[in-house]
Subunit: 328 residues, 6 copies
């Protein structure tokens, strides 16, 4: 399949009256749900997508690719051949041959960018800068706690989104948001000397690490069982606690670090276990709020068409955003 003829989901949807038209695409298997038809036959309800959109279709047990699909986890990247069809007025192609991408194909330049939205900054560069923030922690046990936590999480943190919806909801979004908060804290901390700088920075670096467990699937994020049963606040608290104990962090400091994570969501109805009750916890929850909102602004500026004056309505801001430049 020559790469230049591959169609994106948006292109597949733009074809008009194309029933029967053959196509090849590289797509992510976003959801696979096993169902049973009224005649007793098994079938799959499938959702495929790429950065530009998604569609659903079904595949019955007598399809030659049925067994292959059965073995694939959600989030697998695939070569997909098929013919355009519609069901109840929506694009719902008849699937043909399907093949998993090789690791080389998946890691080829631009491929991940094709499959999923990602942070605008380069992931590797962000991770390098992130590590300088870990290194900048002066307090030995706080630094060790942070290092141990990221050793335990491993890769997941670098690529996870910061949310399924709302702010920084894309590949590398969690790393990007946490890094932006660290940058903000670095310049703000000299202005608020009552805040213990190392403790606040450690709190920032660790505050959302529970999301690496709350969301699963590096390419197709959804809430995991642990995410539904415990939530990222408790999961992140548990991770920080385990790391702090291993690093022999003084109990009084560990307690305050745990408190930052337990309270960073601000209000109980947004998920905070308790209200922020230390200078560091108040500081971290406010910097979190600032960067989350600014992240929504940045994404809307990237995604709104140039000819538009306002973005779509952004639920997190309760408004659409004026996207034209002030000097225009």
């Amino acid at each position: 399949m020559p790469e230049d003829t591959l169609l994106s989901v948006r292109e597949l949807k733009t074809l008009e009256n194309a029933t029967g038209h053959a196509f090849v695409s590289v797509l992510l298997l976003r959801r696979l749900t096993a169902k049973t038809a009224s005649n007793g036959n098994a079938f799959f309800s499938l959702e495929f997508g790429d950065r530009t959109g998604a569609f659903s279709c079904t595949l019955f047990s007598d399809h030659p690719q049925f067994d292959l699909l059965k073995s694939l986890p959600e989030g697998t990247a695939l070569h997909v051949a098929g013919k355009i069809d519609y069901y109840q007025g929506r694009l719902s192609p008849k699937l043909g041959k399907i093949a998993e991408l090789s690791n080389e194909e998946l890691n080829a330049p631009g491929m991940l960018d094709h499959l999923v939205e990602a942070a605008p900054e380069d992931g590797a560069a962000m991770w390098t800068e992130f590590n300088t923030f870990i290194e900048s922690i002066q307090h030995p046990e706080l630094k060790a706690t942070t290092r141990l936590a990221f050793d335990e999480i491993g890769e997941a943190f670098r690529t996870a989104p910061a949310a399924v919806q709302m702010h920084h909801a894309y590949r590398h979004g969690l790393l990007e948001h946490t890094l932006h908060m660290a940058r903000a804290a670095k310049v703000l901390l000299p202005l608020y000397p009552e805040v213990h700088a190392d403790l606040a920075l450690t709190g920032i670096l660790l505050h959302d690490t529970g999301k690496t467990i709350e969301y699963e699937g590096s390419l197709a994020a959804k809430r995991s069982r642990k995410g539904i049963l415990q939530g990222h606040v408790v999961l992140g608290y548990q991770l920080a606690r385990k790391s702090g104990l291993k690093a022999k962090l003084a109990p009084a400091l560990l307690e305050r670090l745990e408190h930052i994570i337990l309270s960073h969501q601000g209000e109980p109805e947004w998920g905070a276990a308790v209200y922020a009750a230390t200078p560091e916890a108040v500081f971290v929850s406010m910097v979190d709020n600032l960067d989350a909102k600014m992240g929504m602004v940045q994404r809307a500026l990237r995604q709104t068409a140039e000819s538009e004056e306002f973005s779509e309505r952004l639920p997190g801001l309760n408004s659409s955003l004026l996207v034209t430049k002030p000097d225009a």
Copy 2:
């Protein structure tokens, strides 16, 4: 001091125009706050109380009992001699001699009942029955988890209140509320066979154990530092987790047990970390709600004067309660 001449706080307050009248009482030191007067002298702001009420007074650093008081933790039971006085219209006696109760005095029949409100059922009998519920758990690791948790808490659980305000807010209140929930679960579980009985019972027995850490002071409860910084939901989750790991409880069961505790408050704005998402968690949070409300009813029935038709307004019910019998 002959016992029969001891005056309760209610009696001290009923004395009219009694300035200078000498008295002796047995009182609890509820609060001790160190302050500095505008002349630089140290003084204590003190709150004394018993089951019938409380009053505040001050004591300066030149008072012969100043050093004794400095060494006493809040919640200490004391013989207090003094003379009636008023400050800004409120009872504020001049303190005389003060002496800590001996252990024998404190454990004498009726003494605790004199000092603090307690559950109407006998504490020891409740604890015995409570242990039969632990024994009734069939699943070995769930039983071991429960046993280990109560071994770790020790005495505190038997006497703690279930709340500072609201429901079961008195000595033995936590034991009473948990026991009542276990009794209710025992008879309800056969009606809801989709609920895993051992898991639900374990969840009930452990659901509020974090309150033994959230409140401190066996006789004068207030929220502890850990209570403010973490809350009883997270504290109880942590205790259950530690006990479950020690008891080698299967991870899938431990996760569900933790979930019961994390979700039992029902709504995030009431303190739940997540919404209940298993049959057992829904069941436990509903039984908790049922017995908490009925506990408010029971206490209002005990405390409202016989000649009254309605209790005072009960904040937890958003109403006063009709306390006369239906057949009257």
Copy 3:
């Protein structure tokens, strides 16, 4: 029409590209709305359904079945012949011959189960057990009040749903929910001796009887005019009042019985006229809440596919439900 070739709505929808395909089905006429086309001709907008789903179609005044349909109330069960067609991408068959089911056909085994979702327990057995609860009331006038109320309601109570949405929203759902509450009360009442058992049981049996008026249509429930103008709380209160007066129930008891019904929804914004202010009213509203939530759990366990780990999101629980067994 041989029974074995009848197609359910789900099967009609599973047919792909079947335009023009002839079918016969047994369906419920769920909604019939008379409209006027822009050319002045009358037509019906119709909704047909069975337990597996529903579809809409239109039928113009020149159709041979137009006059028959005009005479049929919503909720009629029909033999429907037609040909598959689609309108704006949705199943919208061209109707052919239509015939009302005979009473024998309607009462044939399995027919109601085919047409509408029903409680998993047998309706007749539940009704028998329900009557033993009425008989168990010791207080003669409370028993007579209950009996008179159910005599007045008649059949409707046995088959009505407990809600249009939310909990126990299916045939026999109201009977099932009320029966489950009575079972729970029977075992809980010995634990809460301050609750007048006969009064609480009467309150439970009668608390939702207003729903037999609030919803109309035994097979296709929607809110009736009285339901919209008064609500089931006031309607049930009125029914209990009338029955109590006829049974010469002592005014003090009738007032408390009325109060149970007026307050059972818990909060004014959920429909309670007043907050619960008697032990019996608090008890009934809590048992109602417990069984309503457990009913949502039970239905989700029945309806979620075996291969799924979580149910769909349940609005009444604010969460999806983990449906796999704890021991799995």
Copy 4:
């Protein structure tokens, strides 16, 4: 006791350092609560007041007036002699001789005005005008329904307050508020011809009649048992229903009249049983809201001292009110 030496409560409170000073006043017995002292003796906690304020005091069982007071209902008007005293800094006189006012004294000009705040318009004149509104109803059964309801209520309606707190909370307040709504309806109905005028007017006249049962005590209003257990909305609905049935009002009209009463509070959390769903019900609830708010304005204008620019904060308006004239 010569009338000119009687002291009002405000005057009693203005006396400084007057301990032991003898006085005579005419006061209302607002609250009488029987209590038991710690020595087992019975005593009364009493609240006396007049239009200018209130004070509390106690009276023990050995006082010569104890038996007299035991027999008096709350709301009795009394000659009270006593000596000024203070308890905990507040006026708390030692009571001397007490005597009930004769009917002639109670009905003497100005006496009720001395005892309680009243509407600024004359009660008898308002009642006369009110009856012309009843007479203006054209529809015979609606007029009869209204007449029968007021026959049943009797005197209570003429003098009751419209609320314990909030709007029109004074003697004749209910009559005044209802009359003002009738006046407003009379001029507004020609502008809203889709509203059935007789039905809306009947709804207005009856909408708050439940308050004659919800509040008890003609001179010292508090919520009655029926008020707490049912609320004025249901009580008024029941009264209208009974009157409508007796007047043989057509069921369709009675249902709409009941609906006006059930929905007039606007929102369920303010006490409405259902949302307004007829033109008449929407109209009545809006006119109710208009006059309730304007009643708060009128009372604040009457009560705020002339030298003040703003009234005290009015909870019903969430603001203080600018009371100076626009032209000033």
Copy 5:
């Protein structure tokens, strides 16, 4: 194009299986959004509509009408020829020739009524009556302020809707709602003499004038940039302030007039800048609420089919409305 063969949007949608059928219609261009296809070509996403409904379609840059459309503002009335087609099951015609209506065509009798919903009363007659209300203001500077404000707004006020959704959301709706409030105020003001009549009337006439800036497009209303950035409350306040300064209105009166506008929305979460704190402001906000709700009632009565008993659910009333006559 002969007028009698023009099809409305509702008629276009009623045609079944009409692909390829040619039609001519007179339609409003409601929305025009410029987009770029994945192949880099520009295209327009268009929404056309009339009083009976709307549809969307696309038009690519190689279409002969592309340049014409590029030059047309949203809200232009057009002759549209085309052929019926469907995209994803919805009506999405292929466009043919398009031509702007001449001014004579646009002003022909019935044309505006064809294009957009309008108030039932005649616009010109309402404007005449509206001016008599301006003339009725006695206070010279208040009258001048009002006159200057309407001179500045010009035509926009006569045709603007009172809202995009909710109440009076149609052509002339703003004039109609303001006029109805003036009529209501005229008859109510004698009943509330504490309200400064001229000030209240001026406040009513001006209260919503900011909506002429908040909404833009006389025929296809949407929120303007100023509407999103400032809101109609501040815009109306600014207009009143400017007019009042020009009219040399006394500062104390201007301040009160501004306050009426700033507070008329009632609650901050509905858009009020402050709570009403003068008799006039309370009065205006209550009359506004009354007429807004009655306007929803009136529109539902006009729009619900005669054979229906209840309207659709009206979000502003939280209910559907019983639309049959009480006497029916």
Copy 6:
């Protein structure tokens, strides 16, 4: 009066049983309300205070200082001589000679600090730094707008509190809070390049200027008439608009500057006229929130006694604050 014998309010209150004790103090006249006694005599209800507290007393028209007081505005600093007395149990001295402080006395070192709480940073130094921020604005018309606005406000901005309650509620608090926001913006703006730096900084400097009108009285802040009728958001918007027009700021920029002020409160129920809808407005409202919360933290750290572990409950944080150092 020798300075060293002056007593603060806290010291006056600490005196026990001091009736009749003569004292001299320097106090602020916080409130003066003219009242009429029941005997028709005029009197003043007065509130005096200093940094350490406040008390109330009354002064009748026959007092030699009555006429002097009549002429004094609230907020005047006074020498007050008197004798300790109590009324209803509270300190309520009998006033003796009263004399206004001379300007020299008022401006003497430490005097303002004695009378009112002030920001910990020096007012003059803050004002100097504040001006460097104005100078740092590059855009000439934005700089001119800012300069003109502060020229118009004059002195008031330098000393006003940022709030009556909540955050920065003390002398210089408004200057301090605005300056802290400017410092934060200076370091954050390079991290958020999509924010127009000059526009955001101008928005910060002007965002709360309406408070100089909303609060009146440099030493005894209360909400002014304009504050109650318009609110600081609209007042600040008006000031910025006036200054921007005078500075010939481009309309597009002025509109965005006005929008920052109208939206900075975040949510309509906190006073925002609209939601933030530009990058600059989102940024300013988030920095405002950050510094407001940190200001509460800083004040609690200053005010809580060293021996305490937690501050009092801070309403703005919904919690008490742990005030001990993390390393302690």
